[in-house]
């Protein structure tokens, strides 16, 4: 018998991210990351802001019982500010692009690693990438948190890798 004859079995159903994690959990992961990496008095205000035209994203892939990507997106200026804050006294007078790629990528690594650990495992984590955000493949397999850091908008998006299954 083939799958189509038996109908869809429950074990074939892939969980969508909203069944596995929620916004407050992502918020809490981000807050811990900011407290430790950016500064202990840093606050992420859970309010949406309008992202500027010129944005940059950093992301890591999670491969496991749930497969997808954890994406951070913010304005280029904010990413530079984050880099400076992260490096603290080690920040050079002039920030290079590669400083920003490195720092913003590392923040994705820290947030992504902790999101992964809150999901059913075991899962593997990719190295971070920086650039234009990967597209959302399935709007139903998406959990997103929008925050303001020092008044500037930043979004953290946990998005599934696979498109929605066609509905018969």
């Amino acid at each position: 018998m083939t799958t189509t004859e038996m109908g869809r079995r429950s074990s074939d159903r892939r969980p969508v991210i909203t069944e596995l994690i929620d916004e407050p959990t992502i918020q809490s992961i981000a807050e811990d990351a900011w407290t430790a990496l950016v500064g202990e008095d840093e606050i992420l205000v859970p309010l949406p802001g309008e992202l500027p035209g010129d944005v940059v994203s950093s992301w890591v892939d999670v491969v496991g019982p749930w497969t997808g990507t954890v994406v951070l997106t913010t304005g280029r200026e904010t990413a530079a500010g984050l880099t400076r804050a992260l490096l603290g006294e080690h920040a050079p007078a002039e920030l290079e692009d590669e400083d920003i790629v490195d720092a913003f990528g590392e923040i994705a690594n820290v947030v992504g690693g902790n999101v992964k650990a809150a999901l059913p495992g075991p899962s593997a984590l990719s190295l971070p990438d920086v650039g234009d955000a990967p597209a959302v493949r399935n709007p139903a397999d998406l959990c997103r948190v929008d925050v303001l850091w020092r008044g500037e908008p930043l979004s953290i998006s946990v998005q599934g890798a696979l498109p929605a299954l066609p509905v018969h």
């Binding site: 811990d32 008095d41 650990a117």
Partner: protein
């Protein structure tokens, strides 16, 4: 208004005296950020004003609030190390030899805060004794109801479990609960948490074989320290062991204790006939 030099210096001295922690110059912003919420709760908008009000009329509660606000990050597992390694290396073997096989050992964590201390003790005993939960009871008390609830829950954030907890113990004694780590059920069963104000008459508890009374006496004046030590001794076995904070001693406070070197730490034992 920013913190005045006088206020900052007084706070630095207070924190160092009470907790042995050094606040470096340049950390005024940290003091302001941590004390502002407390000041606001009291209806004071200026941190210097708040600090001055405590400095001119200090009380155990108000000074403790300031010290805690600035040192809460210091809540860690196995704080100072030696008083805990001493438990399994010296104290436990001594007690097991002195007690009958069916006697339950009783340990008191007398300022348990969010639970790191009583669970540090629980983990050590679990690793040292077969059937630890049937051999030992750990009483955890704190002045704060919130802290008692946290201790009961036995859940800690990732940032909290990073603080001085050996990784091998983390994986052995905790399970993940979302983004948090939860102490394993057998250890939670070993610990009973309740509210207790050391500065007043104590409820019937114990008698305790071991007491951890760490970094609490420092908040009190001499007569209260003496009263607390007396009350604690009344709840202890005559051959019991008392551990104080790294910067604390009974010397000059209460001479009815014998100081004993245990490993690289000190413990205090009730003096016979005192």
């Amino acid at each position: 208004m920013t913190l005045t030099t006088t206020s900052f210096d007084w706070v630095r001295e207070l924190v160092h005296r009470e907790s042995a922690i050094v606040l470096q110059p340049g950390k005024e912003y940290l003091v302001e950020a941590r004390l502002l919420p407390i000041a606001r709760q009291l209806g004071i908008t200026d941190v210097s004003q708040y600090v001055e009000s405590v400095r001119t009329r200090p009380s155990p509660d108000s000074t403790r609030q300031i010290v805690e606000a600035l040192t809460t990050n210091e809540t860690s597992w196995f704080r100072d190390g030696d008083p805990f390694t001493a438990l399994t290396a010296t104290v436990l073997p001594s007690l097991l030899a002195a007690r009958g096989p069916n006697e339950r050992l009783q340990i008191w964590s007398a300022a348990c805060s969010s639970g790191q201390e009583p669970y540090t003790i629980a983990m050590l005993l679990e690793d040292a004794l077969p059937n630890a939960s049937s051999r030992v009871s750990i009483t955890a008390t704190d002045l704060s109801r919130e802290m008692v609830e946290r201790t009961k829950a036995g859940r800690f954030s990732q940032l909290e479990v990073n603080r001085g907890l050996p990784a091998a113990m983390l994986v052995r004694h905790f399970t993940r609960a979302g983004t948090e780590w939860e102490v394993a059920a057998p250890l939670r069963r070993m610990v009973t948490a309740s509210e207790c104000n050391l500065a007043t008459a104590l409820p019937r508890m114990g008698p305790f074989d071991v007491v951890y009374l760490r970094n609490v006496l420092i908040y009190f004046d001499l007569p209260t320290k003496q009263a607390i030590l007396r009350r604690v001794r009344d709840l202890m076995r005559p051959d019991g062991w008392l551990f104080l904070g790294a910067a604390e001693t009974t010397l000059g406070v209460d001479d009815s204790w014998e100081r004993v070197v245990v490993g690289r730490s000190s413990a205090y034992r009730p003096l016979k006939g005192a």
